[in-house]
């Protein structure tokens, strides 16, 4: 069971026999009023989304999902193909099911495929991955304290903000859950 203070983006809860994922989460609290947890929930089976505001007294059941480790192979006609490395079974996930993870699908990366009653629902990647910066504007030296980040592109085509000293060709570590830069990787 979860309580309202456990709620966070990405949490999976069960409502009326369907698994839901919190796609947006915000803590709001008017003045002297009670704490409210404004959430956007996505039904992980049919993709329907709705907003709901929870209170601190609310409790939630965890969604009981299975996870299976599979390897990403290729993308074809908008479908993403993954393979079970033990059984060699292949499955296809839609763009929706892959979601934000499509930005971090490196060749042959291993992902956890989420299953609800044997149907694939989505994937989760390792929290941290190392990627190559394929495109970056050069660093204007002496600009380190100007308070600015700069946009770069990584090998999957994904763009993100990084500190100004990151150069093209460098390896950086990304948090796949937030999509944010973490650190420069040496060597």
């Amino acid at each position: 069971m979860y309580t309202a203070s456990d709620l966070r983006k990405g949490l999976r809860i069960k409502i009326e026999n369907d698994p839901y994922i919190l796609t947006e989460f915000n803590f709001v609290k008017p003045g002297k009023g009670q704490a409210l947890y404004r959430c956007k929930l996505k039904n992980m089976v049919n993709g329907n989304q709705f907003e709901r505001t929870f209170r601190s007294v609310d409790v939630f059941e965890a969604a009981d999902l299975q996870e299976k480790r599979m390897q990403y192979l290729y993308k074809e006609e908008g479908k993403y193909c993954f393979m079970d490395n033990e059984s060699y079974e292949q499955i296809f996930l839609s763009e929706d099911q892959v979601g934000e993870a499509k930005n971090f699908l490196l060749d042959n990366i291993e992902a956890e495929i989420l299953l609800f009653e044997d149907r694939p629902l989505g994937i989760s990647l390792p929290n941290f991955i190392d990627v190559i910066v394929t495109k970056a504007d050069p660093w204007a030296k002496g600009d380190s304290v100007s308070g600015n980040t700069k946009p770069v592109t990584i090998q999957t085509g994904y763009q993100l903000q990084v500190p100004p000293f990151i150069e093209e060709g460098e390896k950086i570590r990304i948090d796949t859950r937030s999509g944010e830069y973490l650190t420069r990787v040496k060597g």
Partner: protein, 309 residues
Amino acid sequence: MIEDDSWKLTVRADTLRLRARMIRAIRRFFLDRNFLEIETPLRIPAPAPESHIDAVASGAWFLHTSPELCMKRLLAAGYSRIFQICKCFRAGERGDRHLPEFTMLEWYRAGADYRILMDDCEALINTVAREIGLDGVVSWQGRRIGLEAPWKRISVRDAFARYATISAAEALSTDRFDELLACEVEPRLGMDVPVFLYDYPVEQGALARVTEGDPGIAERFELYIAGMELANAFSELIDAGEQRRRFEEASRNRQRKGSPVYPMPERFLQALPRMSPSAGIALGVDRLVMLFADKPRIDDVVAFTPESL
């Protein structure tokens, strides 16, 4: 895995400089107007019992959730204009606009009511804006908000009638007041000019005086700019018997919810009858910095968040 995130401190330098200038301007504003700057203890034996504000325990005592009880004891002892800039602590409050440890500005005036504090807000925020080079207009996340006084004033009842799907009275009776205020009313307030939302139902103003002639209304206002709640003000309740009843009711609410119940702040209640009619206000300094630095999250305007320690 612990990441080296010192770059986050580096890219925040401009905002932290702005923050320091703003705090200096706030301090000068009050000193110029003969307010006495006060420091009260952060660690206290009995925080004000409020239904929805949780204190952080510190040994057998608590970190204060606001300096108001000590500030009011000073008022009762005859101090007539006092202010404080300090850290406050509230358990479980973390969001884009909440930190469990945040910076509060409070000021109090003896012989005043909440309307004078509205004038103070207009003067203070315009003074700080000028000090950092803003010329009567602030831009926040794509909205332009004019700061020229007088600002808009709208009662809670009128605001619900205008922005919410049900009336304030109906929201109260169905226990949806906070939800509708947060989700339907607040996001619409102060989008062009700052707004004072005033005259709250008495159950929403635990330390506020009721309006003469209407026992259902508490003399309380909140200041909103760009949909963001910046300050909360009262004409202070000085009836010790009534204050004790409200504290006891808040304590009962806390017990019902399974929240910790705090000791009664007896010394404050003892001092209250000596307090002359006064008005007091608390303003979230971090949020004012968010506004003037045009930052969407409270994390962007402090050097460290709890998660980064």
